[in-house]
């Protein structure tokens, strides 16, 4: 049974080939699969083509019963259910394969700097073993250090893992669905079971509002309509019947798919596919098999790790060789190597970066951008192209009255979200008639029990246009339902696609007027046909040529705006012909439907969200290209694009130019047109080169009538231009594009679970402008990460130089490895995180997006400025503190040079200082620790200056405001407090090598801290003064 099914439902999701080729290959499934594997690796222009080999829609009820061993009336037997459930598993989508937690955890511990630290730890143990083999009483210091290093790796790994897990959990809790129920007939009884217990062959019942619990073949239907938008992206309701209407299983109306929703009516169906074998399941699987590109920030951090590791390893090796050449013992050389590696690795940075990213993620979540993957926070900031959906993202996703035409004049209606001021002229008598038609010729109703809800937010039962008209009249005229009651409906012909009009006949509310009122609305040209008069200022006038022309112009104009236009007309039925008691029969149409009086036009549109034009402007000034990708008609798409500014007011498409110059489209120079509207059909014909050209030469692009699959092609086209592409999507079919995009953005409301799974980010309010705020945050965090890294790298030099001087000049060691760890993981952590709270220096949204390959997170300016300038300055300051401590205690700098062999000699207990005093080994050790502490404090003091100068990269600190970011001060306080605790509290713990330092030593490096600050102000001043100069290029990081 299982085998057979596989044959029937095997799906050919093809990554590379055209439809024709799929057809030929289907016979040879195994071969095809292999080829697919090979191709999917490197093929660029994928046409995602689903070909569902499903024939259940062609089978008769009887055949279906046989095939699935079920009975349409009785349902499955419970024994059979258990069997099938065991065989096929529950009816759920397997969540995308995630690496096991332990692997994720271990990954945190080997990536990046961790490997360097592991190497350091191993060297520590080796050093101890060498020492131990020579001398059984070797000191355990190296072992302690090794253990500490391993602990550092594990702790930072755990921390990063925890942060990552926390942010993943936010999304996990978000996507967790409410358990769905399904009505099923089993053993002849109807019962409600959790949807995941459904098996193939189950008979299920569906009613309006339900989500389809599995792929089902419809057996009976009563006015059932489904919304397939989660599958196809098209939100138009589709009816479902039990008859086959199309060869293609995806098109036929007797199959309903898992995760689509039933809008109205009821249906009974047989489950034919469950879980991952459903159509949705297969697409989701495809999406999860698409490889995810590395996020830009991951690439940047990798690049940065390479730089730092490169510096660490090369300096380490160079000095290892130097040490050997200077005839140090190998053991000593190894210990130097450890020190150099340790000094070079910014141990606390990974934690700081993770925290900063998750802080931003939290901030974004508040602004309705829920980030699934921490790194996506920054990706959004480097976005250079946004491919946005139209419906729901750019628009409000509800039809709204946009324009009215009556008295030969176009009036504009308010389309904002709350529609509180309708400003058009309502004094005309024509409007009174029109409003009456709008109110009466309408079947939509408000759902009950929402009296307190604002009108625009009320739920309406009925189709989108009718709902729009209902709300429109409710806003303007008040209680529509009451008015309808006063004008009792006596007959009605609902809208159908054949008639293209809707008609109803009402009693009038005027008790003196016994006439019936016939009201009609529908496609304008159809309505006009039925009219012989037109109402102008409340007066009926014959419909002459000029009026008809005026009508045509208005119709064209409104249609050209991409709006759906409806015509309205009415007729008061003569009292003598249609008395009070007249029975209207809608079948025989025993009433006039011609020679009516034309009243007006109303056009509807799904209006843009009011915040979107601003957001698009922001994107434009931020150098981000916004491309609209929609399934809608090109005219509508273009109109919306114009109204939100995706196509700016003065730019033209090729067609516009052709129209203006009155020349054929082919003669227009394509480069002249800034804007382009491309339909899915045209896109299909395009070669990748043509698409590239289109993407390069047109800044304002709208893709209309595209299938969700074509999104993938567009995304790949953009990525060929080295752009960082953000894609919004909600349907299941969007998920491959979401996955392929550098950052996939799923919609929180409208989005399907598959889309949310594939996306990196979820927009909680489905609003395009939230993306823009997200971009702002992303750019800010990129800038702030630069600051954090620059801050962190600086002191690495101050930690490294002591080792180098120690090796070369033979002075007592200025700073110990423990002190280094305490700077990296103690005093520096909170200030570096505080930099993540720094406000933007200038309007970051006026800059071009960073170039993925040119604008690096860590560029050479940053490295050089941090390493060779501020870092060296800090080292000098540190050495000043170090020399001071030794000098005031009796060892002047000249005495220290090349003193190391004597200084470290364990049995030399009468080493003479500059004054003739003699020191025991322990006393020297104690002095050495004082030196460590002094150097440590000096670095800490200068890092205070460093964190202050890193607040800005270009502006003066005073422009930025010293106190605007309070966290910086928390950070500075933490630096001081940690240093004080270390110096005072832990002075007694021998392996930490801290000494209670006298107050005066704490201020030794203050002049250097001031110099650092002054120098950086000077640097910034020159950068501001001379933009583009050599200084700017060299010193601006």
């Amino acid at each position: 049974m299982g085998k057979e099914k596989q044959e029937i439902y095997s799906i050919a999701v093809n990554g590379t080939k055209d439809i024709e080729r799929v057809d030929t290959e289907r016979s040879d499934e195994g071969d095809g699969k292999e080829k697919r594997k090979r191709h999917s690796k490197k093929d660029h222009q994928k046409e995602l083509k689903k070909d569902l080999d499903l024939d259940d829609h062609k089978l008769s009820t009887k055949e279906l019963e046989d095939k699935y061993g079920t009975n349409i009336v009785q349902g499955l037997a419970s024994t059979r259910v258990a069997e099938l459930l065991a065989q096929n598993g529950p009816n759920v989508l397997t969540p995308p394969k995630e690496s096991p937690e332990i692997i994720k955890f271990l990954k945190q511990m080997v990536g990046g700097f961790s490997s360097l630290l592991w190497a350091g730890a191993v060297l520590c143990f080796i050093a101890y073993l060498i020492e131990f083999s020579k001398d059984k009483s070797a000191s355990m210091d190296n072992v302690y250090l090794g253990v500490v290093l391993i602990m550092v790796v594990i702790l930072t790994g755990m921390f990063a893992y925890y942060q990552e897990a926390k942010s993943t959990n936010i999304i996990a809790s978000f996507t967790k669905m409410i358990p769905r129920k399904a009505f099923v007939i089993r053993d002849g009884k109807k019962r409600e079971i959790p949807a995941e217990h459904l098996v193939v062959g189950d008979i299920v019942e569906i009613k309006g509002g339900d989500q389809i619990p599995a792929d089902i073949r419809i057996l009976a239907s009563q006015g059932c309509k489904v919304d397939n938008s989660s599958l196809t992206g098209e939100s138009k309701p589709q009816s479902r019947t039990c008859h086959i209407t199309h060869e293609n299983p995806l098109e036929t109306k007797n199959i309903s798919f898992y995760s689509t929703t039933c809008l109205e009516g009821t249906a009974t169906g047989m489950v034919i596919n469950t879980g991952d074998r459903t159509v949705i399941g297969r697409i989701a699987l495809l999406a999860s098999s698409l490889g995810h590109e590395k996020t830009p920030i991951a690439i940047e951090i990798e690049h940065f790790v390479h730089i730092v590791a490169g510096v660490a390893v090369s300096i380490g090796i160079v000095f290892f060789i130097i040490a050997i050449c200077m005839q140090y013992r190998v053991l000593d050389a190894v210990i130097f190597l450890i020190g150099i590696i340790l000094a070079n690795v910014p141990e606390g940075l990974v934690a700081a970066v993770t925290v900063s990213l998750s802080l931003t993620a939290k901030r974004m979540a508040k602004k309705n951008c829920l980030v699934k993957n921490l790194e996506a926070v920054e990706t959004l900031g480097s976005t250079s192209i946004i491919c946005s959906d139209k419906t729901g993202t750019l628009t409000q996703n509800r039809m709204t009255v946009a324009h009215l035409w009556f008295d030969k004049q176009i009036y504009q209606a308010d389309t904002s979200e709350n529609q509180n001021d309708q400003i058009f002229d309502q004094s005309s008598a024509t409007w009174a008639s029109l409003s009456k038609i709008v109110t009466l010729c309408n079947r939509a109703e408000f759902a009950p029990r929402q009296e307190s809800v604002p009108i625009m937010k009320k739920v309406v039962m009925g189709d989108a246009s009718e709902a729009a008209l209902l709300k429109f009249s409710e806003v303007i005229m008040g209680d529509v339902i009451e008015r309808r009651k006063r004008n009792r409906k006596v007959a009605e012909i609902p809208f159908n696609s054949f008639n293209k009009f809707q008609l109803s006949i009402h009693e009038t509310e005027d008790p003196n007027d016994q006439r019936f009122l016939l009201v009609m609305k529908g496609a304008p040209e159809r309505i006009l046909e039925k009219c012989s008069t037109i109402m102008i200022h409340g007066q009926e006038q014959p419909l002459d040529e000029s009026t008809a022309e005026a009508f045509q112009t208005a119709y064209m104009e409104l249609g050209g705006l991409g709006e759906r236009v409806l015509g309205f007309c009415h007729l008061y039925l003569p009292e003598d012909e249609f008395p009070d008691t007249y029975t209207f029969d809608v079948e025989s149409m025993n009433f006039p439907t011609s020679d009516l009086c034309f009243v007006g036009l109303i056009s509807l549109i799904d209006p843009p969200r009011s915040t979107v034009p601003d957001a698009v402007m922001k994107c434009r000034s931020a150098g981000i290209k916004v491309i609209m990708v929609t399934g809608d008609h090109p005219i509508t798409a273009k109109a919306i694009a114009r109204s939100v500014g995706i196509i700016s007011a003065n730019s033209e498409t090729v067609e516009d130019i052709a129209k203006r110059l009155k020349i054929p489209v082919e003669q227009v120079n394509k480069r002249e047109a800034k804007a382009a509207v491309v339909s899915g059909m045209e896109l299909k014909e395009m070669s990748p080169e043509e698409l590239d050209e289109l993407l390069i030469y047109h800044t304002e692009i709208v893709f209309a009538r595209t299938s969700p699959q074509q999104k993938l092609i567009i995304v790949e086209g953009c990525q060929r231009q080295d752009a960082v592409v953000a894609v919004t999507g909600d349907g299941v079919n969007d998920s491959p594009a979401l996955k392929k995009a550098d950052i996939g953005i799923a919609m929180g409301f409208a989005g399907s679970d598959a889309a949310k799974n594939a996306a990196d980010m979820v927009l909680l309010d489905d609003n395009f402008s939230s993306i823009v705020t997200g971009i702002e945050e992303g750019r800010l965090i990129f800038d702030n990460l630069k600051k954090i890294i620059a801050f962190t790298l600086t002191k690495n030099i101050a930690e490294l130089i002591p080792f180098l001087i120690f090796i070369i000049a033979g002075v007592p060691l200025p700073i110990g490895t423990m002190a280094i760890l305490f700077i990296d993981l103690g005093t520096d952590v909170i200030p570096s995180i505080a930099l993540a709270y720094e406000k933007a220096e200038s309007d970051i949204m006026s800059w071009k997006p960073r170039h993925k390959k040119k604008d690096r997170l860590v560029n050479h300016q940053l490295a050089l400025y941090s390493y060779l300038q501020i870092g060296i300055l800090q080292s000098v300051g540190g050495f000043f503190a170090y020399f001071t401590v030794y000098a005031v205690q009796g060892f002047k700098p000249d005495r220290l040079l090349y003193l190391r062999p004597l200084w470290e000699n364990g049995i030399l207990n009468d080493l003479e200082d500059s004054y003739g005093q003699e020191w025991t080994k322990y006393q020297r050790k104690y002095l050495e620790c004082t030196g460590y502490t002094a150097y440590f404090v000096a670095v800490m003091v200068q890092q205070i200056a460093d964190v202050i100068i890193r607040k800005t990269r270009k502006n003066s600190i005073f422009q930025q405001g010293l106190f605007r970011n309070k966290y910086i001060w928390v950070g500075i306080a933490s630096q001081i407090i940690i240093a004080v605790i270390l110096s005072c509290g832990f002075g007694g713990i021998p392996i930490l090598n801290f000494i209670t330092l006298w107050v005066q030593y704490w201020f030794v490096a203050v002049p250097y801290a001031i110099v650092i600050w002054l120098y950086d102000e000077f640097r910034k001043l020159l950068i501001r003064r001379y933009p583009g100069s050599w200084w700017d290029k060299t010193m601006y990081y």
Partner: protein, 278 residues
Amino acid sequence: MTKDEKKPLEQTLGEWKRFIYNPGSGEILGRTAESWGLILLFYLAFYGFLAALFSFTMWVMLQTLNDETPKYRDQISSPGLTIVPKPHGALEFSLNVSKPSSYENHIIGITNFLRAYENQRQEYHIYCRNGTIFDQDDLSPKKACRFPLETLETCSGLTDESYGYYEGNPCIFVKMNRIIGLRPQGEPRIACAVKEGKDVKLVTFPKNGNLDLMYYPYYGKKLHVGYLQPLVAVQVMFLTHEQEVTIECKVEGSPNLRNEDDRDKFLGRVAFKISLTH
């Protein structure tokens, strides 16, 4: 996806070559000669400035010090004890009486050490008053007290140039570290005792191992020219052959000289081992 494809080796090499020297733009290592010149000039100036800054701050700092006494002496409040001669490695002597090479170095070490105490070098030293602190805070120049080698008797080298090593009764000299301004209280003396081993007798010179107070305080290398710190010699008299002993010497009799520090094994005490063979 395509980005990850490996570039062919030749291309990589070519890129490197172009990086090292780009004939098109005249760039060496990614910069033109002019750019290199500018950047080197900048760093020259920057480091020049740093050097000046460092020198200036160091100069200011050194100005606050005086040449005679260090600013602080808190880290050496109590002196350490050391011995002469110093064996190589740990404080362990292994002496073979019949093999002079096993102690020749020690004899040379001692002779060199005692050279400063030779009588002709003490011509300008004064005879000080025994048993009292020789306070000369107001005196300039500071006087150094005589330390007659004779006090060390048989270990003085005056009678036995081998300091007892030939006979297998080696002399070990114990001294207390110089610390500027240290004024021992009480009657400090070096007391040595056998910690491990038996059949040895210790003879201390001068008797009781006294450290005379007249040698204190010390005024530092610069002021106190020719200062001689008092010595105590311990002669280890082995009663039997083939011996191994551990001897510990401590400063005693002075409340402000510590000798029991847990961490500093040489603060006011010193322990050494002698193994002797014939």
